[in-house]
Symmetry: C2
């Protein structure tokens, strides 16, 4: 952080920017299905300053509920709306964003949804601060380097092993050297069905790295999960992701003990840094996966990344929405040399693809990096996403509360 | 549970009740201040069955945000509105409520606020099921006895030591033999100020049991908390409640190690049973405090109570809202002989007092018990609470979503 402080001082930017407006944009596909595809809707956040700058972020959360958490009337001193911790505040240094995050945690202690809402707001504050200083967020975070990462294709299992095979095959044909499959009923039926899916995945991707996401399917049933370990070993799986409820450290630790060859991964549900640290401390995960749009934003993500590095655990981004969220995720661990994998969502909805003007594509060496421009380094395409926007109106006691732009 | 099953069968009630309607009632004081008084607003839930019965519950949560979580459009397969896990469902046995709770956890896995909304709905389902079978909830839960508890007066520290003294004095004059003080800046200023408050509290209550609630004031600062331990010991404090963020088990465990004479208490923020179990397993708390209106309802509360009993930890209810919520809390641990204390909110807002037709008063021996009538055994006074109700209107894409009765 010393590096950044001196840089900022060197530029003579002593004045901060005041946050004058926070607007939410709720976008959704015309039909939202029951698929485990988190890109079917999106909640974008725009913050605007007195100086005319704007910053953008994205919550990985229920849009309506997260908007309600921003505008709700207060319930008491530590159950205040998210708005109370940001509107009218001034930021000048990274420490100011940390200060607002601390205020939010206290002011909205009893408002459960606040963490999800805040994650997108916080992201937008970093984008704004980066633009204010003319620096990319990774540099504001104190990183000395923006290291490229190996993207892994994040896919859902097919309805049949044949479909899984084809998806894997297409991913490696497109140049991916690591592929993750998840959901699609894996772990919830017969062992043979899981074995067939895993073999199809392995056959489809050849020698590429293979990961599996169980989507909490076994809840707290360590024995059910253990039965799959030999199948995962047989197919050379690097990690088994989210076998259980994200709060059940005991189950994670027990499975980790029983699975010396297949590592456990988890953490995407963390809505504060401590949850992720606990999964490392008490759950024995070897890969900690953080969604910047849930954990409290970029500062909270970096806190976990630093902790993971110190513990010898690999930090990985969790990203299944737009490339705005993906860019924010990349900044958060851009300088972490020990964390070289990046989740790269391959099958985004048209809406998620429409959010940014340009997509983050792997470079010639098939690596991805945080964008180099000021702030997050991506631009939101409001016109492109326009057709997906949904109007929101919330009234309490007749009074219109929503700060929702459409 | 065997006892209950045979009782239900003995009565020949083989048919369940179908949940046809779930309505929310958002009540608030005309002015909601920044005080740490959680009774300034309330979210009541009414479930109605095809058989014409109704059950009532209360969420200890932001009313607007919790309503939004019930009605929100789905985001994807595991980010569904709470409504999807209850409307149209049939319940006949306690196991049916557990089944719906499990469905909710899966269907709304990524909807953070869902746990708070569900807590009130689940409570109302128990009330309904109890009325259907003509049995009190404590009996449906499988308890063989409804044991009376020692109520402790739950108070906020006064603005001055003199005020604290008077509040404590009034409480023991009213017959309370245990008193808890909390918030009011305790722990956030000079050590001397804390010492003066503690001495005033002790002087005010004489030989009664004294507890202190720090309201997460030290976040993760074990040293700041440790400095207060000698003061708490000097005033003979039984427990120190919520010293830190509820997720920071490491800090709890370290403080527990440094405080052999003053026990740690916590758990009110738990929004699932695992969080509370972790605070016991990894945080070293000796008293686990559960808010039935947050943890997932009565079934989730009982799960924690059973776990605590097995671990030799004392279960205590967390109640700072109406006597509807208090009754639900009492049913959840009615038969736990090792948990004999009950938080009893003494300074409720007029609105919170208006929620029920009758208040739960301590008996001649100054003990409180779960009501003996069918269901929760308390009646909601809709007319009484009427003046505090706030109309809620939520529209997405022009469509009215709210299922809010006023």
């Amino acid at each position: 952080m010393i590096v950044v402080d001196s840089m900022l001082k060197g530029e003579g930017t002593e004045d901060g920017v005041q946050i004058n407006a926070v607007d939410f944009f709720y976008a959704a596909m015309p039909e939202v299905t029951l698929d485990a595809d988190g890109s079917q809707d999106a909640l974008l956040v725009r913050v605007r300053s007195d100086s005319g700058l704007e910053g953008w972020g994205e919550c990985e959360a229920s849009p309506l509920v997260s908007i309600a958490a921003f505008v709700t009337p207060r319930s008491h001193g530590v159950c205040q709306p998210v708005a109370a911790s940001v509107l009218g505040e001034t930021i000048e240094q990274p420490a100011d964003i940390a200060r607002l995050s601390a205020n939010l945690r206290r002011n909205s202690m009893d408002l459960l949804q606040a963490a999800h809402t805040w994650s997108g707001v916080e992201m937008a504050l970093w984008d704004l601060l980066g633009k204010h200083h003319g620096l990319p967020v990774w540099q504001l975070l104190g990183y000395e380097q923006n290291l490229s990462k190996q993207p892994y294709a994040s896919l859902l299992f097919g309805a049949t092993p044949e479909e899984t095979y084809k998806r894997g095959n297409d991913a490696v044909a497109a140049g991916y050297t690591a592929v993750k499959f998840g959901w699609g009923g894996f772990g919830g039926g017969a062992l043979e069905a899981d074995r067939d899916q895993l073999r199809a995945a392995r056959d489809g991707i050849g020698g590429a790295q293979l990961m599996v996401d169980a989507g909490q399917i076994w809840d707290d049933d360590v024995d059910a999960a253990s039965l799959r370990i030999p199948l995962l070993e047989e197919s050379g799986v690097l990690w088994l992701e989210e076998p259980f409820s994200p709060y059940d450290y005991r189950a994670h630790a027990e499975l980790a003990r029983r699975s010396p060859n297949v590592s456990l991964a988890g953490g995407e549900a963390s809505h504060n840094p401590e949850m992720a640290k606990n999964l490392i401390r008490f759950g024995g995960v070897r890969f900690v996966q953080i969604d910047t749009g849930r954990v409290g934003g970029i500062g909270a993500s970096k806190e976990v990344a630093d902790f993971a590095a110190a513990e010898g655990v690999t930090y990985v981004n969790h990203s299944f929405t737009s490339h705005l969220a993906l860019a924010a995720s990349l900044h958060a661990f851009a300088g972490q040399a020990s964390s070289a994998l990046c989740e790269f969502p391959l099958a985004l909805s048209p809406l998620a693809r429409a959010v940014t003007t340009v997509a983050l594509e792997p470079d010639a060496e098939r690596r991805v990096s945080a964008p180099g421009g000021p702030g997050l380094g991506v631009s939101v395409d409001l016109a492109g996403v326009g057709q997906y926007l949904r109007d929101v109106e919330i009234r309490v006691g007749g009074e219109l509360l929503t700060a929702v732009a459409v």
